[in-house]
């Protein structure tokens, strides 16, 4: 029997970490992810885990320590947010290119400046090309479930890549909600022992990690790395199937909500999906066929499957909780557009920057988005495709 609890998103991640009992956690505190290493340190002090905790003086060092310990052959985890993830940036690439399956809990927060500590996806979107797998979570339950699955996906022999499990700062990281936990022994059995094929502490086979790479070899190494990313999608689906057999909770590349018969939809990441589902329920009562696609796996990007799920729609709003300052919209907007390229009679598409720096997103705000989609369908005019949602604006004469 699963265990019913009430936990915040941060407690949920710390609990998953406790149940996985990794060899090493190296972390530096930063709001709003601080509680994860904080709770975890207590588990260590209480003797509930065997983990070696490495307190470091910065996130650059945290990720460097993770690279060292994962290379040594230790299952390694950490957590961070915002500027902490930005400070890890250099080392993120090293973890990915050295094929080290580190698990990183990202609690999404805005980047400075102006300085701001609230929910925003600029941090992990800034890392999207670092070669890490990225999974996003709507709720504390999903953060917990994703974190447990992440270990298996990252460590799979066909993947061997580091992985980020992301959730929204404060909105899910600090809000306490009901959650169903899996029993300790079942989690242990699910993740299994970490047995890397090659590792630095193996005295039977000396090895060198991270040597200088000349132009004659760099491309081949990167091409091999890309293959790990290509394999990640199928591995994620297999792990999700096993997870479903254990818990009854179903996971996929993405989640859809009332999308099959919809004429309009929004595409969104993390907690706003919950708000959008409420908005959809209201709109459906008015007879409007509104739907939703919620991203789960963002890197690698399941473009074909997403295009297939969206192609029947008349109009789509892609929601980015960050701006990429391309004058075209956000990173998710760009990826969805390129996924739909080549689709005949592709849906009309607009891209909203919304909720940045923790701006509240209410059901009414999401209904406004659908209203603009219905206006596009009625008038046949898409208008400006790069929009800001609920930004205070003076009428321009």
């Amino acid at each position: 029997m699963s265990i019913r609890e009430r936990l915040s998103g941060n407690e949920a991640i710390a609990t998953a970490m406790k149940q996985i009992n990794p060899d090493v956690v190296a972390a530096f505190p930063i709001t709003p992810s601080t509680e994860i290493p904080q709770y975890f340190s207590k588990y260590i002090a209480d003797g509930l885990v065997d983990t070696e905790f490495v307190p470091v003086e910065s996130e650059h060092s945290a990720m460097s320590a993770c690279v060292g310990s994962e290379s040594a052959g230790a299952r390694t985890m950490t957590a961070t947010s915002s500027c902490g993830l930005a400070l890890m940036h250099e080392i993120l690439y090293i973890a990915a290119s050295n094929r080290l399956p580190i698990t990183l809990a990202v609690v999404n927060r805005a980047l400075s400046g102006p300085i701001n500590i609230n929910a925003d996806h600029s941090d992990s979107m800034g890392s999207r090309d670092a070669g890490w797998i990225q999974i996003y979570s709507e709720s504390n339950q999903e953060a917990y479930d994703n974190f447990i699955q992440a270990v298996r996906i990252a460590e799979h022999k066909d993947v061997r890549l580091p992985i980020m499990v992301c959730q929204d700062g404060f909105i899910t990281s600090h809000a306490v909600e009901n959650i169903e936990l899996i029993e300790d022994d079942k989690v242990k059995e699910f993740v299994g022992e970490y047995n890397p094929k090659n590792y630095l502490l193996n005295n039977k086979q000396p090895m060198s990690i991270g040597p200088y790479d000349t132009p004659a070899y760099y491309m081949e190494h990167k091409r091999l790395q890309a293959e790990g990313m290509k394999n990640a999608k199928d591995v994620l689906l297999k792990v999700a199937k096993e997870f479903e057999n254990m818990t009854g909770r179903k996971y996929d590349l993405f989640e859809t909500y009332k999308l099959e018969d919809a004429d309009t939809a929004i595409v969104v990441i993390n907690s706003t999906a919950g708000t959008a589902k409420d908005a959809i329920d209201r709109l459906r009562k008015e007879g409007k066929k509104a739907g939703l696609l919620k991203i789960r796996l963002f890197r690698p990007f399941p473009a074909e499957e997403i295009a297939e799920a969206l192609k029947h729609l008349k109009a789509i709003a892609v929601m980015d909780r960050c701006d990429s300052f391309s004058n075209q919209g956000g990173p998710l907007g760009a990826d969805i557009k390129s996924a739909l390229y080549g689709t005949e009679n592709a849906p009309k598409l607009i891209n909203y920057v919304y909720g940045i720096g923790g701006r509240d997103v209410r059901v009414e705000n999401i209904i406004e988005v659908y209203d603009s989609l219905y206006e596009i369908i009625e008038t046949g005019k898409t208008g400006e495709t790069y929009r800001y949602l609920s930004v205070r604006e003076r009428e321009v004469e």
């Binding site: 090659n198 086979q205 991270g210 040597p211 004659a216 091999l224």
Partner: protein, 104 residues
């Protein structure tokens, strides 16, 4: 079990090791750093007193010794830094640009 792939510039991406990891030891001899050389040390053997002062200063162990006498350079690994030429008290070593007539 060891992935001791013979890695050279014809290897396909499918056969290369992840991240350039090297799964064995004692194999830097297979890495021909001599490719980097722009100046080649040339030894005037007839002037050499075999004092061997050049040998320990070579950062690449590219001056072999046999029976107490230095041999010609190991050009597979000599990077052409010229430290040996500076160390030689009898000026037996000249640094000649690669590709110049004297080298051929």
């Amino acid at each position: 079990m060891s992935e001791k792939t013979s890695i050279n510039e014809t290897i396909a991406w499918q056969d290369i090791t992840p991240g350039g990891n090297i799964y064995s030891s004692g194999n830097s001899i297979n890495f021909h750093t001599g490719d980097w050389r722009t100046n080649r040390p040339i030894l005037a053997l007839e002037k050499c007193s075999h004092c061997l002062l050049c040998v320990p200063v070579c950062p690449d162990s590219s001056i072999p010794i046999k029976d107490g006498k230095r041999q010609d350079f190991d050009y597979d690994h000599c990077k052409g830094c010229g430290i040996c030429a500076k160390a030689c008290p009898l000026n037996c070593i000249s640094m000649i640009p690669e590709g110049s007539k004297e080298v051929e």
